[in-house]
Subunit: 148 residues, 4 copies
């Protein structure tokens, strides 16, 4: 049940901005907002790690599953960063690992999110093997082997 | 500064559903949510008042201005209705008048919204005179003269 | 990875209202919105299944984990219902199972969500065993044994 | 109807971050999001212009009216800044003027927002005259006379 991999190395960090209405009546960042922040991290990750492939515009990736652990409430005024890494690449899918942390509190962990993204052939709109160019580009960025 | 027209008759009412995260840290429906609720009322209004014209799919209307008065905070558990009427029709624009009220409190007024919508020719994408069929259909629904 | 339990019986169904801005640039209900809709279903479930306990106001339950499978995109104009059931009750936690379906398409499955909620003692603010009254009330509503 | 004051000088500018789900099915930043961004600008404005008064925590200001002109759609990938100024101070209220612009397009104007905020005595919770310390602090920041 605990999806946090304590040994993941995160090479990508994005500072994110929260809004007044992101905090709910309990005074906490609403759980749904973590997924909006994780989306910001995801887009910036691929723009940074695979700019040519991502910007080619024919990227077919759909989110099949999101699994989020809520560790500590994020409070108004606390800065937040999103850490993102591709954890592994399967035949037709990627697993993305993310953490939302508070850099003002020694990266206190607020939320960890694991996302399964399926690669889609944009012509047939069906799941298709992850192209080799994606695998090699992301392995270069992460400096480690990613395929299962 | 008070945009509430006390003598407007509203023939259209839509019950709207609020969500846990619509309420902010002050325990009030966040001001931005009133505009989301007004959008719900607007769509249902045109679907009801002008179904053939609205569903034809070539509707060109853009929101040019929104003016909202916040009268009383909406609290969790209070049901809310959106009242909508076309107030008047100009040469190339409509003025929509809406109120968000609490039916459990004798229609206590929470927020009034006046929206200026500009009619756009969908071929040229420029403002264009409101077609006669729109004017007559909406005058029929409202049972009164609408053009300025 | 597939969290859908095909044999769960759902006794609770809530019709939910979506908003224009719930649909993203792809024309799909944004993934984060499913969690807002699941929240609506959760609150209505406990209000219906355990009204006395829920309304007592000293309910201490926090969401520890959310796991969502996205099966099919929800499109503008499609009505949506949220089905909710308590799947099981552990020592200090509940597992809630939910599905967001389209009743106009024979309950086509859009998204399934499994939520782990931890029971908190509201005095100490620490996790505490789920009280017997909660277990018996929810077992009555679900008409089956829930504790692990 | 056009609320844009061409001669307002804005001393405060905040870069704001938009999210994937801020853009609606038309591919435009949804109108309701401009108000969320304006809120970000407002908070940062008062934190910068009147830090001692704002952080004292007993600030009573409620939004009574929001009036927004939508000039041009904001598109994904366009950076956005919020410009904020107190335009004038009345007996019991402030008028805040804001613009959301695209710095990558020579500050192309996307949206202008005028907000009427009423000063509230936090003990009585009734509207009360704006304190002199607020007026002088904001006049110092804006380098001009603000009271009507």
């Amino acid at each position: 049940m605990d999806i946090t991999e304590t040994n993941t190395i995160f090479r990508h960090r994005l500072s994110v901005q929260t809004r007044f209405n992101d905090y709910d009546i309990l005074g906490h960042l609403n759980n749904t907002v973590y997924l909006e922040l994780a989306d910001l991290g995801k887009t910036d990750y691929f723009t940074t790690a695979a700019p040519k492939l991502w910007n080619a515009g024919n990227v077919g990736m759909v989110v099949a599953n999101v699994n989020a652990d809520f560790h500590a409430p994020a409070l108004p005024g606390e800065p937040l960063d999103v850490l993102t890494a591709v954890e592994s690449i399967g035949n037709k899918s990627f697993i993305l690992s993310q953490r939302i942390v508070c850099p003002a509190k020694n990266d206190q962990l607020k939320c960890s999110v694991r996302t399964i993204m399926v690669h889609i052939d944009v012509r047939s709109m069906h799941p298709a093997p992850v192209p080799e160019c994606w695998i090699s580009t992301l392995e270069d960025y992460e400096s480690r082997r990613l395929r299962d």
